[in-house]
Amino acid sequence: MHVGVIAAITGPRRGTRGAPPAVDEDGELVARLRAGDEQAFVALVARHHAAMVRLAGSFVSSAAVAEEVVQDTWVGVLRGIDGFAGRSSFRTWLMRILVNRATSTGMRERRSVAVGDAGPVVDRARFDASGAWMSPPQHWVEDSDDRMLAQGLTDEIQAALDGLPARQREVVVLRDVDGMSAREVCSVLEISEANQRVLLHRGRSHLRQALESELGGL
């Protein structure tokens, strides 16, 4: 079950698509944390908390357990921070600890990389025998921005995300909500690049279909 912590709408993501939100500032906070700065710790928590709860929620069955996993992860961070060598980004290191903690709670076997569903991402019936569109995508892109501003679409997207198979949801959320790179996601979830792309593809395609159903009347 997904723990719904995504709430507000912000404006369009600044900078290039997929650029993590000011992750480079982690370095300074990490240095201060090592020096025993309590404020730096709380600042790091604030920066990563929501993404951590979201990811933990994908592994465990309740919001309360997800919060526990997050707390447990931060204790692991405090214990291990002196050994953090900076070979990966702090965020990657952090999220890997989280995934380890979440799986050691025994809720899910990490080794399985099931895609979660199978078959074409667009209903076969929408193409003719030659594979050309018979029932083409309805036009809705411009509407969606207006609807988003009016908050009307947030719940739809959240519901569609919650409805994705867990692995697809994890990849889409890390990539498209949290702004991680493909490489970071592979490292955090311990999956191959090809697998990451398949999960991303299926997840995004489901979300597109959900938006089309909501906005385009199909």
Binding site: I9, E38, P137, S144, R197, R204
Partner: protein, 85 residues
Amino acid sequence: MFWSKHDLACQEMVELITDYLEGALPRSQRRRFEAHLAACEHCTEYLQQMRATIRLTGSLSAEDLTPAMREEFTELYRRWRSEGD
């Protein structure tokens, strides 16, 4: 529209779209993908919708840490410090 056997069908396009957006298509495949796009308004629409979907998903954002949670994590830190000393 008539497709030769070297062309991609729309049905194949929708399955290749993420590899295209991720820059993971081999060059020849990428050329065929783009040639199809240039000739097919529906697949162009579909691509725009995938981009819009990514953008809309990215505009979901997380709640900030509540004051109570801030307190809680400050406590967690202090507990850890006192145990470690």
